[in-house]
């Protein structure tokens, strides 16, 4: 019995080995036959998208269109988690195991500088690049060259549980931060455990609050960049964040993804959370008419708080053996048909002409807020700051747990400065 088991394991191991050999061989032959462009038989384009980015209908549609336009070619869509994505992308770009990939807008410059992304400056017009909104395209450009194509943008809004708000006697969305605090007080008085769910390390919201007041998280000083948490704007924005966070029982030393706040919200004891459209509860967890959206209000009623303009670009790997296919794929994925689908899903599309398609409740709250949005400095070294452990997150956790703001800000500005100065 035992011997049979050992034999079975051995055979299994051999089979795996043989399969590995054969698969690597077939990919070799595929690349050598690229002299015949009309025949895409046996070619597989591997595309990486991030968790929560592309709606299923979008993926299915793009896949079908791609495979009919390039007969014989296959599209292999892989969904990646954000956590630890930097190292995964580095490995994949080095090995050439990915052809097309979604890169966060704060990290695109960093990867462009590594030489891992294909320069697509010449293809920009063909991909529809003359109509891209210039502020959304900025993160795809480094030293005048186009290394990626803007795909979609998103900013966070307040997502709230209408039932709880009504029960607490609140009618209508707040127009100023002070009104919002009053509403949260009412929710608290009504016994809601988390009037707002806001973990201590949700640095995107902090970044937005800071950007909204004209502040910067890092500033240019001469030819180098330095951390700027010590600035009065950063301190003021932090006080706002701290006030909001005080209404939450969420852990102060965790971010919005641990645990995923979207899994906490539908449980019914959370009045509101600050999140992206895809984090809103699915209709099976909470009826859609119980979920409302409004932009995080500002100090005055005339404009909402600032937001972090998150977003993603699509890039082609320099090491890809299927660069023509990859460009063909980009053309399909970035066509008005599929960009419009992203807009309909509540995201900001890369062309302002498609904004009219963004009609969801989330989009109606998100688009006004995005006018007061900003993103991180578009420099290659910024990606270093977001490497785990992210000093901004550590700073927030420490300051929220009673640390002295000024001395912590000094300490973490030094760390941010150090990371921004790291050689590539």
């Amino acid at each position: 019995m035992k011997r049979q088991l050992i034999a079975a394991v051995g055979v299994a191991a051999m089979v795996v080995g043989v399969a590995a050999c054969s698969s690597s061989k077939s990919s070799d032959t595929a690349s050598s036959s690229s002299s015949k462009p009309a025949n895409y038989n046996g070619k597989t384009l591997t595309a990486w998208f991030m968790d929560g980015s592309a709606p299923q209908a979008w993926q299915d549609g793009v896949k079908a269109d791609f495979e009919s336009q390039f007969p014989g070619a296959k599209l292999n869509i892989q969904i990646q988690k954000w956590d630890g994505i930097g190292q995964k992308i580095t490995t994949a770009l080095s090995e050439g195991s990915v052809d097309v990939l979604e890169v966060g807008n704060t990290q695109t410059a960093g990867y462009a500088a590594t030489g891992g992304l294909l320069d697509i400056t010449k293809d920009k017009a063909d991909l529809g690049g003359s109509d891209w909104a210039s502020n959304l395209n900025a993160s795809s450009v480094l030293d005048g060259k186009q290394y990626a194509a803007p795909w979609y943008f998103a900013n966070r809004v307040v997502i709230y549980n209408k039932g709880l708000w009504t029960k607490a006697g609140i009618s209508g969305a707040p127009k100023t931060l002070d009104e919002f605090y009053q509403d949260l007080d009412k929710l608290k008085a009504a016994g809601v455990g988390n009037p707002i769910y806001l973990p201590g390390q949700e640095w995107y919201t902090y970044f937005g609050l800071l950007a909204g007041t004209g502040g910067q998280i890092a500033k240019q000083s001469g030819s180098s960049w330095v951390g700027n948490l010590e600035s009065p704007e950063a301190k003021a924005a932090f006080q706002t964040y701290q006030k909001l966070q005080s209404y939450s029982a969420a852990p102060k030393d965790k971010d919005e993804a641990t645990p995923q706040q979207m899994t906490i919200f539908p449980k019914g004891d959370v009045g509101a959370m600050i999140g992206l459209g895809w984090e809103a509860p699915a209709p099976k967890d909470m009826p859609a008419d119980n979920v409302g959206y409004f932009p995080l209000p500002g100090l005055t009623a005339d404009k909402p708080s600032g937001v972090f303009l998150g977003g993603s670009n699509l890039a082609v790997a320099q090491a890809s053996k299927n660069q023509d296919l990859a460009k063909g794929f980009l053309k399909i994925a970035l066509s008005d048909k599929y960009e419009g689908m992203m807009a309909a899903a509540g995201l900001v599309p890369n062309k302002t002409s498609l904004n009219a398609l963004a009609t969801s409740d989330y989009a109606k709250a998100a688009i006004p807020a995005s006018t007061n949005g900003a993103t991180t400095p578009n420099i290659p070294a910024w990606a270093n700051v977001e490497n785990t452990p992210n000093p901004i997150k550590d700073f927030m956790a420490a300051a929220l747990q009673g640390g002295d703001y000024d001395s912590l800000a000094k300490k973490y500005d030094d760390e941010i400065t150090k990371r921004l100065a790291q050689k590539n």
């Binding site: 590594t114 030489g115 030393d253 550590d394 590539n424």
Partner: protein
């Protein structure tokens, strides 16, 4: 696990080795059959698979790590497959960095606390195993085996749940016992409490190994020795210090040094509990190497830290090898 227990098995027969009969027999075996070619190469042929496995699985990665540590290897160099030699600058940067020395100091203290607790706890449990009746011994033995057999990540996950600030059973229990301020205590909120959880986890996971070895060692001590000691009026402490400790000295030595190695290089438990946080204050050497090397994508720097960690461990092992060599001379 098998690899880990091998060195101790070699140690355990230590006391019985002193009579010299067993090794003599096994040596004279092949000699008697004559110096034929086959029998002369047989020992090497038998050693070869183990040597080959050691070389490919241990030495080869080690050599590669060393080669990497002499390079400036970040994501750009990795993606473009560039090799930029920088000599020993990764080493000099680390050896002049305050972070590096803080982490070293933290690792040494961390290892010392763990090893002392593991050895004391393991010895006591081993003594208990020896004294228990067969049913209770089986129960305790099964419990120890289960704790020991649990994969590190599973252990850490269980501890994370136990010590969860809102839903953890530890906080619930403390609250019920009257410590109401502990009801939502955040165990990973500061350095001391995070280390407390990590140390508890490592000590708990390491005690079974020491306890079983202790028990195995105790069974080799003839009961006459205890009886004689008791006749002479020795109490429990005296018996331990005069009978058990001298008989099991090789066990204590070997196990202590093994635990030093395992605790010093333990990565999984430290990293899974809080990733070296809060504020990087629970980073030990392996975690520091990982965060700098893989996390920050400075692969050359990470390799240099890993090599320095190995050098430190090797230095810490010097006393052990001296004792071993001395013992072999005596044989």
């Amino acid at each position: 696990m098998a690899v880990q227990s091998d060195p101790v098995r070699a140690q355990a027969p230590g006391p019985s080795n002193t009579d010299g009969a067993v090794p003599g027999d096994s040596l004279s075996g092949p000699r008697r059959s004559g110096p034929g070619l086959l029998s002369r190469f047989a020992p090497y042929a038998l050693l070869a698979p183990a040597m080959l496995a050691t070389l490919t699985l241990l030495l080869w990665p080690l050599v590669n790590t060393f080669v990497l540590s002499l390079q400036n290897l970040n994501k750009r160099q990795l993606i473009q497959h560039l090799t930029e030699w920088t000599g020993f600058s990764n080493y000099t940067d680390q050896l002049t960095s305050a972070d590096f020395w803080h982490t070293t100091e933290r690792s040494v203290v961390f290892t010392a606390i763990n090893v002392v607790l593991i050895m004391v706890g393991g010895t006591l449990v081993g003594l208990l195993l020896n004294r228990l009746g067969s049913k209770m011994r089986l129960t305790l033995g099964v419990g120890l085996i289960l704790a020991w057999a649990m994969p590190f990540v599973a252990q850490s996950t269980v501890y994370l749940w136990l010590f969860d600030s809102r839903y953890g059973v530890v906080n619930w229990g403390l609250d019920k016992l009257g410590w109401h301020s502990m009801a939502t205590y955040n165990w990973t909120g500061n350095q001391a409490s995070t280390f407390f959880v990590i140390i508890l986890l490592i000590v708990w996971g390491s005690i079974p190994f020491v306890a079983f070895n202790m028990y195995a060692g105790l069974t080799t001590i003839p009961t006459e020795l205890y009886e004689a000691a008791r006749m002479d009026g020795a109490g429990a402490f005296k018996i331990f210090s005069s009978v058990i400790y001298p008989s099991l000295k090789p066990f204590f030595l070997g196990t202590t040094f093994l635990e030093i190695i395992w605790v010093f290089k333990s990565f999984t438990q430290v990293y899974t509990i809080d990733g070296g946080g809060p504020e990087r204050s629970t980073e030990t050497m392996p975690v520091y190497s990982f965060v700098e090397g893989i996390g920050n994508q400075h692969f050359g720097v990470g390799s240099a830290i890993a090599i320095l960690t190995m050098v430190m461990l090797a230095l810490a092992m010097v006393p052990y090898f001296r004792v071993i060599l001395k013992q072999e001379d005596e044989l």
